[in-house]
Amino acid sequence: MSDWFPKNISTFGGDIDSVFNLIFWIVGIGFLLGEVFIFYALFRFRRREGKKAEYVNGDLWPHVGWLIIPAAIILVLDLWIDFAGAKAYDRIKGDMPISDVVVKVDGKQFNWIITYPGPDGAFGTEDDLILENELHVPVNKVVKVLLGSKDVIHSFFVPVLRLKQDMLPGREIEAWFEATETGRYEIACAELCGYGHYTMRGFLSVHSEAEYANWLVERWPAPETEADGQQK
């Protein structure tokens, strides 16, 4: 079913997709077995003349067979899913990898305010660059996004990156991604934020390294051409 997913261009997107597929196969097979069983039972035990239903007398062993063993199987499968999920989750939300680029993204009714720290690597200084709805990042680099909001709760959702994170006013939440393909992709708001919620569309431009360097030079024509913000 993950064929339906949008293209994945993020390093951790594959982890999410594979957990999805794992769950899909586990519950898909379980679901089919269950439904086939129900329809078979309905057919086989339909009402027929002269055939009386079997009484349930509450013996232990039928209980074990019908309820306890299947429930135990479900429990084992649950734990399997949990462990697979925990692994993927830890990769995404656990320790953050060392980032090459830091960008601040703030939600505002109904725009994305994207702030680059500039060559000095610090926010709130004069060389900050503020863009609306345009996020530019280099390919194959770890990008740290600092998510915040100016008014209500928004949600930073980049389908191709499998990245979604709510942005809360009054807090700064860190997220990261590493894009593996260049191109221009859409950013969407995933949390209802008012009447213009549906118009809150932004763009993620993933540049090749050379292109990104050019882009930086265009923005900051100063002598310093080092990739911005050598931070960790």
Binding site: F5, V56, L67, D82, E186, A190, G196
Partner: protein
Amino acid sequence: MSEHGNGHAEPTSFLRKYVFSIDHKVIGKQYLFLSLFMALFGGLMAYYMRWQLAWPETAIPGAGWIPEPMAFGGIIPPEFYNALITLHGTIMVFFVGMPLLLGALGNYLVPLMIGADDMAFPRLNMMSFWTITTASLVLMASFFVEGGAASAGWTGYAPLSADPIHTGVGWGLNLWIMALALEFTSFLMGGINFLTTVVTMRVPGMTMFRLPLMVWMQITAAVLFMLSVGPLIAGAILLLLDRTVGTGFFIPERGGDPLLWQHLFWFFGHPEVYVVLLPGLGAIMEILPVFTRRPIFGYKTIVYSTIVAGALSFLVWAHHMFVSGIDPQIVMPFSITTILISVPFAVIIFAFMASLWGGSIRFTTPMLFAIGTIVTFIIGGVTGIFNGSAPVDIFIHDTYFVVAHFHFTLFPDVFLGGFAALYFWFPKMFGKMMNETLGKVHFWWTTITFNMVFIPMFLIGAGGHMRRIYNPLQYDFLKPMQDINIFITWSAVALLVGQLVFIFNFFWSMYRGKKAEDNPWEATTLEWAAAPTPPPHGNFETVPTVYHGPYEYSCPGQETDWQPQHVEKGSVAA
């Protein structure tokens, strides 16, 4: 001054008998009509939303009557769309699901099933009905105040809901909060009543483990509701003060914390899902034994599973908030409890399967709906695993995958289960049989179109289609899915139109239906076996005594294949 069991005399005036009645059967029917009436509104709103999603910003057929500024010649603006999503959710959960399954079925059935002549507090019962009626009026009135109705989603996340400047909605949202508060009050009164009734008014011999499972489900639901709603009432008071007085409990600039509202909402919201779910499953548990002609499999196991699920439901709420910025440390524990909650529900489903096996199944309309509920509910159950897995939820949170998932749990439960219950208990309630042919047409039409609406939603959800989007054509990556959106809309129209069959059948049968016998389904529980049809004021002519469990069908060595609870079994042949 009698709040006494059979103390109150039968009223004679019209007002006392049908309007301000304190008879639990009349109140149950009042709840039924209220919930069906509100369901019409909820359905109409769904239709407007679906049309807007399929053909954005075009005039919606049948929306021309909506006055400005809600709609302009049938074209709805985003503000009104947001009001529709908010009110659709609120109405369907709080004003259809709960009144139908707890209010109507609970009120009508619980006293009859335990052999009581009425609820423990009949006047309180009447008050709870009129409170929710007031709440419904307040909610509908909120459309007509300046600024329009609440438009912050049925979850009302702060600070969008906490300050009118964010939405432009003024009193509409205040009224929404008040309507919810009244609704909560109503069901708190109802919950106190149910629990007290079941604890104190069972007939002799009706031990807790001889209660029909419906009663177990009702009281578990009541306990869950009463224990979970308190913090949200506190939160709602604070939210209302934020909006009206100008305090800042949920507004970060004034020292508040918007995340707290989400915690309070979902601390209530998750148990609330089971509050709605359990009575629907309870109806299925009553119907299955009757039409398989064998006892339900694993009665006690079902009861214990329900209690375990109920207890666990208090420990899973943060799974609604995996991407909302909560501490990652608490995400995995919640993910684990969430996925574990599938175990008790799986046990209940396995018990249903085992109950079918070895039965002698009669495919009547209620039975068809019951089976339909189980078959579709399984889809809702298994798709919950996807949402419960924290990494997967990062992607599918707030997409149509979630929308499809919860409609696959609540629709089978509230509507398919509710229809099963109505077709099943209609003869007892109104003394007439419903038409079987129309019922079967209704069943097939409803289940098929329902699946046509919501299965494609899983696909577009997996494609990343966000929920609560006014116009999906804004996004390039959603444009290829527009054909599916149109398909969903046509299916939804078909689903809604199909309900006319039910409405016709319901009213036609009430007047023209075949007269029902006391126990047309040959059932064993007290409401069928011991009470006349329809039950008189006071329910039972003589107080029944209960001798065995509720589902004694096809007992070996008995003459008939059903032994009513109040009739002692004959000598069992060795």
